[in-house]
């Protein structure tokens, strides 16, 4: 398919700046193939339907816009959770700061090592889900990731490791431009929790490909860093086999530009996928959640719950699709996206989509944009709760449905406390 001239020119100009990292033969081949996919799709431009609400340029054009390093005034998230820590600083693995990756029930390698060796399952997954996904919508920045990722973690879960695996992304350089690509394979019946937190870099392009086998379970909770000027484009590709369970929750507070894509495909029957997010934006904040769930098996349940709290000119975007293929009978699909606008300057755009080719399915979606309920606010104040605190209570109530998607009560409590302090810092 020929690209429009302007897009083709932009793509060639960009590709001229790209060099691929070194690796073993399979890795080099995978990277080259990804680069060719990018060349075929072209770089994203504003006119692309898929980028209607978010300007893509600063997510890939070089050099990356600089981002001031944020000095946090609180302990990082997940601090009290017993976890296996793997630390990246500006996208570079920090062995000193990381834990020994040996743990029962899981094999953890770095992508840079896996790429030098030949880990057959990694080879069969790297760039594979990404490549499959373009049949529906081109996702060139994911292909760019597969082509240029310098590192990542490669996780094979064979049992039920007692601790979550925690990826910590520190940001220390205001010019850093990090690209990481993780692979996760959860073997039949195995279970794992993956935590991610931190800003990672001035600009972060991250991709995770997750293959969840029969009866296996993958749990994911992430908190993106609070650096105000950071940018991130992330893709999470999941392929779900029969009876598997996939749950992902993301908290985003701050960041000048974030695009989080989740691409989930049910390939086996009776599987469950929940994708949820809470985004808190104040001022220069543009947050885009783009989700694409494909039901290609029977009796699967998918649930998308996205909430955004926007103030002082912050912008929220949600694009969410449920595609039910013919034969995917008894699909149960649910999608809700809601924004709470705390003033008149903020805005929310939503594009919910259902595309259904099976006749016996249950799918629903809803999207709302609203302000604080003044009547409820007055009721609380009339009981003695000060305005700021009352408003925060209502904001947390608004977010509750998303936070309830976090299974582990300790992790949920930790996320909740982040939300509370984010709100408290902004009380009038």
């Amino acid at each position: 398919m020929a690209l429009p001239k302007a897009k083709q020119d932009a793509t060639e100009a960009f590709l001229a700046q790209v060099t691929l990292p070194e690796g073993a033969a399979w890795a080099s081949a995978a990277r080259k193939a990804a680069l060719e996919r990018l060349r075929d799709m072209g770089v994203p431009v504003r006119r692309d339907e898929y980028w209607r609400f978010t300007r893509p340029e600063t997510l890939f054009e070089r050099p990356a816009p600089e981002a001031e390093v944020f000095v946090a005034d609180e302990e990082p998230v997940f601090g009290a959770i017993d976890r296996l820590k793997l630390v990246f600083v500006d996208g570079v693995f920090d062995a000193e700061a990381s834990d020994d990756p040996a743990m029962d029930g899981v094999e953890i390698t770095r992508l840079s090592q896996a790429a030098a060796a030949d880990i057959h399952w990694a080879r069969e997954l790297y760039g594979v889900l990404e490549a499959r996904s373009h049949a529906d919508v081109p996702r060139p920045l994911a292909a760019l990731n597969s082509a240029t990722a310098t590192d990542g973690v490669v996780i094979r879960v064979t049992g039920k490791p007692v601790r979550p695996i925690s990826l910590i992304y520190l940001h220390g350089d205001r010019t850093s431009d990090a690209v990481l690509h993780h692979l996760v394979r959860v073997e039949p019946g195995a279970e794992v929790t993956l935590l991610e937190n931190g800003p990672a870099a001035a600009r972060f392009n991250k991709c995770i490909e997750v293959d969840v086998a029969e009866g296996a379970s993958f749990n994911h909770v992430r908190a993106q860093g609070r650096d105000h000027e950071r940018r991130a484009v992330t893709h999470m590709f999941a392929r779900l086999a029969a009876r598997s369970v996939y749950k992902s929750f993301t908290l985003t507070a701050n960041g000048v530009l974030t695009r989080n894509e989740a691409i989930v495909e049910f390939t086996g029957d009776d599987a469950v996928a929940h994708v949820a997010g809470a985004a808190m934006g104040h001022g220069a904040f543009h947050h885009d959640d783009t989700v694409f769930v494909t039901h290609a098996a029977e009796r699967c349940e998918s649930r998308q719950v996205f909430k955004k709290v926007l103030r002082n000119g912050a912008v929220g975007v949600f694009q969410g699709k449920i595609l039910v293929k013919s034969g995917a009978q008894k699909t149960d699909g649910y999608q809700i996206s809601q924004a709470l606008l705390l003033d008149d300057e903020s805005e929310f755009s939503a594009k919910p989509e259902l595309e259904i080719y099976a006749d016996d399915v249950k799918c629903s979606h809803g999207s709302t944009t609203g302000a604080i309920d003044e009547t409820a606010l007055f009721y609380l104040r009339s009981r003695g709760v000060p305005r700021g605190e009352a408003q925060d209570l209502l904001v947390l109530a608004f977010l509750a449905e998303a936070i309830e998607e976090i299974e582990d009560p300790d992790i949920a409590a930790d996320i909740l406390s982040r939300l509370e302090s984010w709100l408290a810092r902004r009380r009038d």
Binding site: A376, S382, R383, V385, P386, A397
Partner: protein, 251 residues
């Protein structure tokens, strides 16, 4: 306790005067009732006293124990001891009733410089008060007023009052939508709080409630004014003859 003088209130949105010079004093230890036809301004009075937006006081004053109420934020009025049992209690999805009660109690205590109530003491307090109002544990766990029946909402208002222990209680048509048993529960709840230091202003459309909460003074409100004041017998007169004769007589 509560002193209202020549209170004039208009709506902010439209140029419409609702209260046209209300004078009313509720002494500590007394129960005053306000009766009056629909639309006479009873709820407006209760909202203005508790600080709801949308009203403009064009003349007059309202004080609680000598302090100017009208200058204060709603939460300050609450901490000072004013409580309004809403005619239409508000549903707050996502905020648990227990969280709501504890947040309110501790916020008021904090504003008054008192220590917070511990989780254990709070639980004991709520259980005890809820029991007398026949509010079950399930209702306490649910979000504030969400899915509550009309009667449950009203009982929940009285529960809040019992826990917050305000010194000036305004009840706006707390009897509406209640069956006889529920009304009895609510009245018992109110009567249990009656004491020397506490004033009550019971707004009602019907005399029924006043059989159970016997007032010291009854006022008739019409078209934004108190047009007649008397003893409990005034309520009976309304019950017997309706408002029409009374209003005609008051001119």
């Amino acid at each position: 306790m509560l002193e209202i003088k020549n209170l004039h209130v208009r709506l902010e949105e439209e140029d419409k005067e609702i209260l046209k010079g209300v004078d009313l004093t509720v002494e500590a230890g007394k129960v005053h009732a306000i009766m009056g036809p629909n639309g006479s301004g009873k709820s407006t009075l209760s909202y203005v006293l508790s600080g709801r937006d949308g009203y403009e006081v064009t003349a007059g004053s309202a004080t609680l124990a000598g302090e100017d109420l009208l200058e204060q934020e709603p939460e300050e009025r609450a901490a000072a001891g004013l409580f309004l049992a809403f005619q239409y209690p508000v549903e707050i999805p996502g905020v648990g009733n227990m969280t709501f009660l504890r947040t309110a109690l501790n916020a008021q205590r904090k504003a008054r410089g008192e220590p917070e109530v511990s989780a254990g003491d709070f639980l004991k307090l709520v259980r005890e008060k809820a029991k007398t109002l026949k509010i079950d544990a399930e209702m306490l766990k649910r979000p504030v007023n969400v899915g509550f029946s009309g009667g449950e909402k009203k009982r929940n208002e009285i529960l809040q009052m019992a826990i917050l222990e305000p010194r000036m209680c305004i009840l706006d048509e707390t009897d509406s939508g209640l069956d006889v048993d529920a009304m009895k529960l609510v009245a018992d709840g109110v009567n249990a709080l009656r004491d020397e230091g506490r004033g009550f202003l019971v707004i009602t459309h019907y005399q029924r409630l006043l059989d159970h909460i016997v007032p010291d003074v009854v006022h008739i409100m019409a078209a934004g004014r108190i047009v007649k004041t008397g003893g409990p017998e005034l309520a009976l007169e309304v019950e017997k003859n309706g408002y029409h004769d009374l209003l005609a007589e008051a001119g």
